[in-house]
Subunit: 334 residues, 2 copies
């Protein structure tokens, strides 16, 4: 389907659900971007879920977002259970303003929801010549090291920086062996997942995506990954006033209340300490790319490079609509 | 050997090498702390190396450390090739001051050296009720994802927060499968290292610690760990003005110049957004500790807890001096 057609369609759906034109546009853009970078688990496969949560008043289509200025650098946002995209868009814009004024910005958000990919918001800050770190928690998906039960979300760590080229450096890595979105897509399309990335609800290894969703995803690197996931839960949940320690609600399965996801954005000017930051990072990337490669690698890519290339390629093509999404769209348009 | 005796001995050695009394004390305390928490790779096994580098004028015993105030929150320190412990001690104290004044502090350091463990400095900030993140780079030890050659240091990520108890939460995790210090200790005591944590210089897996030191350490979690190590190199090297992209010199093997390690400290008040932070984090930790355990786990520990318990236990005992350190001490005391 043509991008413009999908854009109009999604906008119409979200406005019909009660979102303002501006909020519908922010949400639509984020979902289409996810499709274009190939992150299908964060794209149209979630459309129906968002609409269901709006219908059930678990996402507030007309949020009264409150912002509290703590200092010139630091702000606290209560997103009033807005759709996550809107909260995050407001959050990163506030963090950009704060950093532009004072060199460094920090914005904490509570009462938000799933916002897609952290890297999407990192891009906004990078375009303003800022370095950025983003943390968000999520519903239980990963067992803490030593535990038999999921508690941490896939809790991504996102770090982005300008590179002096049009392709930014954006590391946006979840702390699970595999993204939950990918497992969800596999479950919807009856595909298997690799062995070793998840356990079923009895603690046994499984390649069945549906069983994995009911079981436990494994963190990267044992106690190290578990510790990083715990850090993200503290930064985005404990610190901000959002839910934490396993209390963020699963948007697909739990309709007992709003998610109350938390996010933390940290932004700062790239040239705070070195005027020639661009030259330095260009030299850094060039040196690393020049290293001898192991078998099977033609190139060493920096984080974000592949995603950028996928976006460029997909941008020229129509967006593929799966049967499952087709069905969702029909139902939502009525 | 009794702590006090070692304390006096090390102090005497460092003062004889030209360090001020204050700088000798800072250095001695950090080395003894490493022994007490059981991080032997950062303790007395490094004493001779530091002294050698001072003798060869690669560590400056009388540094003129320059501090540049960028904003009320942000400072830049040129450590003038001081011993790393002194630079880091000054850095964390500055970051604490900045955060106490403005809510958030950021301190970048260049022209520094190996400073032991990030967690040791995190403790100082936590005692002042701050949350802290610390990044430092190091000499080549880990191959970027896809490369046949080491370039990144073990580039630890450190995150610490007060917990409302006397045992702080301190995650201090290197991005390698194993700490370089542990490989070094194994090499000195002719012990093997586990399979799968390192390759020899020909790219083959090895359990020989000496061969591993000349080869390549593997990052945790493939491209994810490689991306995190790259992030740390940018934050502590590219951003600060220190060496980066494989140019930090190995303190044991490379006597062609000062190391020029870089560090970045970020500190902020724990109760910026929630007045009841202590209550929230206590509840977070309690909930996670209560989860059902997998076989072989009696308890779920949070990062830093084990280290604290080791410290308490070791504090009551004498410090064990290996033959190798005994030899070093004899040589240094003369």
């Amino acid at each position: 389907m043509k991008h413009q057609k999908i854009f109009k369609l999604l906008n119409k759906i979200f406005v019909s659900k009660g979102l303002s034109k501006q909020h519908a546009k922010i949400t639509t853009n984020a979902l289409i971007n996810a499709e274009l970078v190939g992150a299908y688990g964060h794209g149209l496969s979630r459309l129906k879920m968002y609409c269901d949560r709006i219908s059930k008043k678990l996402i507030n289509p007309k949020p009264k977002i409150k912002i509290k200025k703590i200092t010139a650098s630091i702000s606290h946002i209560d997103a009033d259970n807005s759709i996550g995209f809107v909260a995050a868009d407001f959050g990163i814009k506030t963090a950009i303003q704060n950093a532009k004024k004072t060199g460094i910005g920090m914005v904490a958000i509570k009462n938000s929801g799933h916002y897609g990919m952290s890297g999407y918001y990192a891009e906004q800050a990078i375009k303003k010549n800022l370095i950025v770190m983003i943390f968000t928690n999520g519903p239980p998906a990963i067992a803490p090291h030593g535990a038999m039960k999921s508690l941490f979300g896939t809790n991504p760590i996102c770090f982005g920086t300008p590179t002096g080229t049009k392709i930014p450096f954006i590391l946006d890595t979840s702390i699970s062996m595999i993204n939950r979105g990918k497992i969800r897509v596999a479950a919807r399309s009856n595909k298997k997942i690799p062995l070793g990335v998840a356990l079923d609800k009895f603690g046994n290894p499984t390649t069945d995506a549906r069983k994995a969703l009911k079981g436990v995803q494994l963190p990267i690197a044992g106690f190290r990954g578990s510790g990083l996931a715990w850090m993200v839960d503290i930064l985005s949940g404990v610190l901000t006033g959002a839910n934490h320690s396993g209390h963020v609600k699963d948007p697909f399965d739990d309709f007992t209340g709003p998610q109350n996801v938390g996010h933390l954005f940290i932004t700062f000017k790239k040239n705070l300490f070195q005027k020639d930051f661009n030259k330095r990072i260009l030299s850094n990337i060039k040196t690393i790319k020049k290293l001898p490669k192991i078998k099977g690698f033609n190139k060493i890519m920096y984080p974000g490079q592949n995603k950028y290339l996928r976006f460029k390629k997909n941008f020229k093509k129509d967006i593929r609509i799966t049967n499952s999404v087709k069905k969702d769209l029909k139902e939502l348009i009525g």
